[in-house]
């Protein structure tokens, strides 16, 4: 994963969940979230926007 301007290896996938919501609106949400444990022991959450078929990093706070 490239995060904070550097590449880090993914140690393991520590979680996965999906969200399908707001399908009745003009901005439907269909995402697959993946929690990644990185080599520096940080957990990074990314998600796949299944409508746009694009990956994003989930930022909290």
């Amino acid at each position: 994963m490239r995060t904070g301007g550097r590449w880090l290896a993914v140690a393991r996938v520590s979680g996965r969940h999906e969200v399908d919501a707001r399908w009745w609106t003009e901005h439907p949400i269909a995402r697959t979230y993946v929690d990644l444990l990185l080599e520096d022991e940080r957990v990074l959450t990314v998600f796949h926007d299944r409508i746009a078929n694009t990956w994003y990093e989930q930022r909290y706070g």
Partner: protein
Amino acid sequence: MAEYAELHCHSAYSFREGASTPLELVLTARALGYRALALTDHDGLAGAMEFAQTAREWELPAIIGAELTLLRRGARPCAPTDAEATTPDRCFASLSMADRDGDAAAICHMTLLAETQRGYANLSRLISQARLASPRDEPQLPLDALEGHTEGLIALSGCPQGAVPQAIAGHDPDGARRAAERLLALFGRGRFFVELQRNLVHGDEARNRGLVELARQLDLPLVATNNVHYHERARHRLQDVLVAVRHRTSLDASEHLRRPNANYYLKSPDEMAALFAELPEALANTVAIAERCRFDLTRDLNYRFPDYQAPDGTPADEYLEQVCLQGMRELYGLALPPNAHDRLQQELALIRQAGHAGFFLRLWELMRYAHEHDMPARGRGSSVGSLVCYLLGLSGIDPIKYDLFVGRFLNEARQSEDVPDIDIDFARDARDRMFQHVFATYGTEHAALVANVIQYRYPQAIRDVGKALGLPEGDVDRLAKRMRGRFAGTLEQEMRTLPEFHGRTQAPVWREFRRLVEELRGKPRHLGQHSGGVMLSSTPIVEQVPVQPSAMAGRYICQWDKDSVADAGIIKLDLLGYPSLGHLDRALKLIEQQHGRRIDPVHIPLDDPKVYEMVQWGDILGIVQIQSRAQLQTIRRLTIRSIDDLVIQVALIRPGPIQGGAVNPYIARSQGIEPVTYDHPCLEPVLAETKGVIVFQEQVLEAAIAVAGFTPGQAESLRRAMSRKRSRDEMEKLREAFLAGAHRHAGADEATAQRIYEKILAFAEFGFPKAHAAAMAETAAKLAWVKCYYKLIFYTSWLNEWPFGFYSPGVIVNEARRNGVEVLGVDVNRSRAECRIEGDAVRLGFRYVKGIGEAWLERLDAEAAHGPYSSLWDFWRRTRIPREPIEHLIRLGAFAFTGLHERELIWQLDLFYQPLGAQLPLALPHDAEMVALAEMSGGERVREDVVLTEGGITTRGHIMDLVSGALHEGVTPSHVVEGLAEGTKVTVAGFVAVRQAPGTAKGFVFHTLEDRFGLVNIITNPRLVQRYKELVAEAGALVVHGHIERQERAVNVITERMEPLRLDASARVPAARTHTFG
């Protein structure tokens, strides 16, 4: 491929929760290669039989289970309350559902599966217990109630709402352990599994880790499930909508209540194996459990009909014969038909063979009670064809006299496959008393009402989906109303015709709306009550099927509809309300009261030429079964001279003969216009009575026997297949057998055999058995006799028995007048709650005054015994009924005796009226305070009559007075229309008495317009129905321009154009004055 059985699955019978039908689930599970599928609807088994039958049909092993809502130990159950804004949340979210006492974790879920027959009985009993002790739609069972009822059940720890998973998610490992140990103690080792679900929801992983750890600690087996709520992923949208609907909110406002994603579908075994790759035993255990659950609901139900203990220990078979022979002596005396004994022995042999003697004797006992307690009743349906039923007093119709076929009711195939249906009609009040008697005799442990599954229709589906999507209420309401009747096209068509949807119909949200509405339509919404079905069992009913409270105190309703009850082989009695029996009974009592002549309905002559002359003339309003527009049309073209003619007439105008193309050939052949022919010579003995066409249901059986060489049992299977919702495949299998049989047995070529089979199919179930038609025709003939000889009594009793039938009271009263019977308005000193005979007239009863409820009717009758009222004040002082009904009575002229007119009386009422509970004012001389007020005009009084009486009765004028301004010399009155020639151009005008759009009419709509002189029939073709849709569907009064269509004495006006008939200023007609039906 991995092996998997889904053990946690909800169907649409988890009402407003599950989004797929049992069939959709079974077909998908089968396609995915499941080893088995369990149905685990919430707190119910309403869909269990349908599921089990469907699964059997598709050769998928089925497991019956349920997801129970439990109250943990110490938590108090909710007291039953009215339905509340929110119901218990299920499976996901709504952890805040909580109990009302603040114990957030009081409610928990658990998945139970029936391993054995005992397990199924326990499950059914537990659900019943929860349903009976909880608020409606909020079943909850105290956890401790499981004690002693876990034998034969396999328990899974449940969804995230389970007691164990909740504790783990709440970081309470000790609580989780305690909960697991408690369940282990209840169910025993090997019958309690820790359930893991991985629906890709945030939190699944942590919860499952905790569950696995706990299972290892306690040495408990694991099992994987997917908490299925729909058969395919795409259906998650409907499931979201249903959750919002159940919580009476919108999708926007229900995020915390809905499932977060679309992963609750039937996943392939490989997908499940991938999800639980690190726990293969969890997947293997699904198959192991499925192999253990051998209970088959289609086969293993422990049902027994209550047996009959005959006096002195006489065997039931022998006693039944004794009772029948006694009945034979009483009913036939010396005039015993020659074949009666043989026929009786033949029927008794079939009953003996099937072991149903006790059943017949039980019914005999019930009907004896009915006869001894003056309850008007008689049989209906195919049982009327049975001599045994006649001799036991179950039918009241002599099958030998009418040459009725018994094979539809009793035959060798039915003995092993199912039990005979016995349907009995009762007068309305008598039916209520009979229900009380049945429940008093059998108790709720052994008797239950049969359910009716209420399915989503367009209007409700539109309202529910519209609300969930947050669509404008006004738009949704208009659309729902638009889709209410048979006049509607498709949802999209209707949207296009409404101006407010212009340019919006293809907007994404409205497209989604339409798709969801179509998906929802036809899905079960809730359980209602069957119109008259009651099941009886010698084994406790709660162990056959769960029961829940019914609307009637002291009676329970089972969770199965009539199809499921029949599939279970459970005997169902249909105790139906038939108001015409009440009409006849009231009339006979009035004849005795007025003329001192006691008439036994059995002895009313059925061969009186004067009666048939009246019927033939078309004076048939109020005569059950023959009073419709369509009946009148055929009666006028046929010759009705006997009860046998009437039996055919009753059966002819039914969807079966209409769709089977029998009506016009029958009429033409009766008139000698076309020769009587048969599709095959072997049909002649079967169809000679009905001139070569199929009119009666028995003829379907007899035709199958004659043409294809079917046994009576095979023929009955064909009839049953036609009557079932789930039988298309069976019908096709039977087609093959029919074609082969026709070739072999009758030498019929394929084209002929196909033609006959198609006619049988078109007839389907929608025709009467001759036995049923005979029962109906007898009642019709008896009512016709009353109408012929006692018109005044006929109308009085009709008005007192109403509501029923085709016509509103306003139309009935006008018809009475045309027949020379005057109907007088309400008068507080002369009227009673019901209509009464006053000299040569009918005095209208208070029951027809809007706003006077049942309690006030009783009060008025009681007070009438104390003598006449001397004034308005005296009336108010003595009755203390509320102001609104008093004002209605004034405006209807009920105080005319005072010499004051309506406005003066209302002025006076204002001077002294005080609501109930206020101090009574002194009786002051109100006359001194009067002011000069203008009296109402005749037209105003008619307006008041129409608006303030039930069904728009006018006694102080005619309803046509309201449209006098709109009529002109170009409008032809109805009695003149009768005499016009074919093709004559005509304009007619009147109030819509009946509006009918039958499914068999291919889009044609029929109106019956009423004017001052009578009724006139209007036929509007589908093109004009679309052009004048609003008028056709809603107008209370119409002007129709068209031309005459005449077939002998049957006359119709064929619409060319129409317009509303304008009412005079401020007049309005309540919609209830028109009877609209499909």
